[in-house]
């Protein structure tokens, strides 16, 4: 049986593009700052040497990378586990068994709030940081998934066995 992947909201692509724009404009501001405020810019090459790759990178990330990433990002829930796949060029498919979840969290960043998005994060004891973070969900959906997950975890039976 194949995994029934569910795509994330289309506005996740917009979210990715905004992030790309913000990151790239920070880079641009730094470069502009150097050209404007450093007293002698003779040793620096023509600004176009930076400007053209910058524009190419912005287009690459904004158009190609964002849409590839959006296309590949999906999640699925089976009876036993939660699955997530993400990435554009480097791809990761992650599975977290439901009975290993320690806690669940819904988060909304500033940009996500403008787009009405949220992400749902599941934590396990496996690694230090966030373990499975599903981006690009509607806030309502995320809250609802969180509620169902928490219920499932709470009803988890534990065998008291000494022979494990």
């Amino acid at each position: 049986m194949a995994i029934a992947w569910k795509p994330v909201e289309p506005s996740y692509k917009t979210y990715l593009q905004i992030i790309v724009l913000i990151d790239m404009s920070i880079l641009a501001l730094i470069a502009i700052g150097i050209y404007v405020f450093v007293p002698s810019t003779d040793w620096l090459p023509n600004p176009l040497w930076f400007g053209i790759p910058w524009a190419a990178l912005t287009l690459f990330f904004g158009l190609f990378w964002a849409s590839r990433r959006f296309q590949f990002t999906a999640y699925a829930r089976s009876h036993e586990a939660m699955y997530l796949r993400r990435g554009a060029l480097w791809r990761l498919t992650r599975a977290v068994p439901l009975n290993r979840i320690q806690h669940v969290e819904v988060r909304q960043g500033f940009i996500e709030r403008m787009l009405g998005l949220a992400h749902l994060t599941l934590y396990t004891a496996g690694s230090g940081g966030a373990d499975l973070s599903i981006p690009g969900l509607k806030l309502n959906d995320a809250e609802q998934m969180k509620a169902t997950l928490v219920n499932t975890i709470a009803e988890e039976p534990i065998e008291e066995s000494s022979h494990d």
Binding site: L92, T93, T124, A125
Partner: protein, 494 residues
């Protein structure tokens, strides 16, 4: 609930608090770089002494204050702690939430029959509590009680309390390691290079060597220069002295190593001056590491490390002192230990290698070495033939190593255990109870996607493990199968 009786630790424990301050100093030594720089730059006569003196006073005062304000109370079901000089901290640790309770007999407490009780609780913060200076009898009682409470259900634990009022019951299995075994452990796990680095670093920072030692040697022992063999002999003698010193370090740590199993609780006690106890319960086992380095292979000995859940990065950093290690085991003992730990370890395990495609990427980078070396040799006026031959030899050695590495790598799944073996000169086997894994990843870089392969990452509570170069479809099938298996397994995992 009875009234809490707040107690202060004995005056002797000031030593413990001083030691703690000193440990803090060592840990935060980088914070003092500005101060050291100031001392260095100012070039004043008195400043270093003032800083050192000031710090000593600070250590003494804060140790005394910390001792004054360290209060503990033992109730029937919990330990209460009140600490802190300015910021007060009040902590209650229920016995039933305690994961680990160990007794450390520090060398400065041993003559007085006092111990340090070290308690770990569950939870993501991984709180560790140390109560110094408890009388040994009381501490042993307390430890029994804490561990009994963590055992399964209430009825049983009350029974266990009644039990523990008496003495510790005899262990199921007991073993003491002889001195010669510990010396073997010292040879295997030799920290000679660490020792060397520790000694050389301060020497290299000062001019003692160039300004004092070398002229002195030249003046007084000029005969050294006359014989090459004497020089070599001296160097060898110095290294062997260090080697023996490093064995001494292991001896101090593992002297009189005593291993026992009691009610699925594995325990190891050892130490020459400070007696440390580490233990784990079988239920909490997350990983078994079997290791044998080159010296170990020559001595036919293994070392074993068992890891439990390490709740935080902080705990992982200090895992060196608290993880369960048996440093020297014979082949027979390893097999016996494997039986006790229920490892399905046998000669006819179905070790699976990985595809030879895995060699492609490293081989490509290794292949770049030879031309790079030959070019460097050519640029440095080394005869062409010599350059080419040595480049080819080095390339061959590294490539052979890569192939051996690939050849010796293997993984297997047997009776719910995932095992991975690797190593060219030394050998390493990691065993994980698969049903305790936390998450399973399938990872593909663009390169792997091109080839149609993927890496499988298994994150366990004791750290991640990677199985490289699996065909994509079988990697995804593995992920699916394992996560379903884990998700429908309701045994306790911690």
């Amino acid at each position: 609930m009875t009234e809490l009786v707040w107690q202060r630790t004995p005056l002797l424990t000031i030593g413990f608090f001083i030691a703690k301050e000193v440990r803090n100093l060592v840990r935060n030594i980088t914070n003092f770089i500005p101060v050291l720089a100031a001392i260095f730059v100012s070039n004043s006569e008195w400043l270093p002494y003032a800083v050192i003196g000031g710090y000593l006073v600070f250590i003494m005062v804060s140790a005394i204050l910390n001792h004054r304000f360290f209060l503990y109370a033992l109730a029937d079901d919990a330990v209460h702690l009140r600490t802190g000089v300015f910021g007060k901290k009040s902590l209650t640790l229920k016995y039933e939430r305690i994961q680990q309770a160990e007794l450390d007999q520090s060398w400065y407490f041993r003559p007085f029959d006092l111990v340090i009780l070290r308690v770990d609780s569950a939870g993501s913060a991984g709180k560790e509590v140390e109560i110094p200076g408890l009388p040994i009898g009381l501490a042993q009682d307390l430890r029994q009680r804490m561990l009994a409470q963590t055992n399964t259900n209430q009825a049983y634990s009350e029974l266990a309390i009644a039990d523990s009022e008496k003495t510790e019951p005899p262990a199921d299995t007991e073993m003491t390691f002889s001195m010669s075994e510990i010396v073997r452990a010292g040879i295997m796990d030799n920290k000679i290079f660490v020792l060397l680095a520790v000694l050389i670093y301060p020497l290299s920072q000062t001019d003692v060597l160039e300004e004092t030692l070398v002229p002195w040697l030249e003046a007084n022992v000029s005969f050294i220069e006359e014989s090459l063999w004497l020089n070599i002999g001296l160097a060898v003698a110095a290294l062997s002295l260090l080697f023996i010193l490093a064995i001494g370090v292991t001896l101090v740590r593992y002297y009189n190593l005593h291993f026992s199993i009691l009610n699925e609780r594995y325990q190891a006690r050892s130490g020459l001056f400070t007696i440390r106890t580490v233990s784990f319960r079988y239920q909490k086992l997350q990983r078994v590491q079997l290791r044998q380095n080159l010296r170990g292979r020559l001595l036919k000995r293994f070392s074993v490390r068992v890891s439990q859940l390490q709740p935080s990065a902080h705990a992982q950093q200090q895992s060196g002192s608290s993880s369960f290690v048996l440093p020297v085991l014979t082949q027979n003992l390893v097999e016996e230990l494997g039986n006790w730990l229920k490892l399905p370890r046998s000669a006819n395990l179905d070790w699976q290698g990985i595809s030879f495609i895995a060699l492609l990427n490293p081989s490509f980078w290794i292949a770049l070495i030879a031309p790079a070396l030959a070019l460097t040799a050519y640029a440095n006026d080394i005869p062409l033939i010599t350059g080419l031959i040595s480049a080819a030899l080095i390339w061959f050695a590294i490539q052979a190593y890569a192939i051996a590495r690939w050849h010796n790598y293997g993984f297997t799944i047997n009776n719910g255990w995932l095992a991975i073996k690797r190593g060219v000169f030394g050998r390493k086997e990691n065993w994980y109870p698969l049903h305790k894994a936390q998450q399973i990843d399938v990872y593909q870089s663009p390169w792997l996607r091109l080839l149609g392969y993927a890496d499988v990452l298994v994150h366990t509570a004791a750290g991640p493990e990677v199985i490289k170069y699996q065909p994509v479809s079988s990697a995804l099938a593995m992920q699916r199968e394992w996560s379903t298996m884990i998700g429908s397994n309701h045994q306790r995992w911690m």
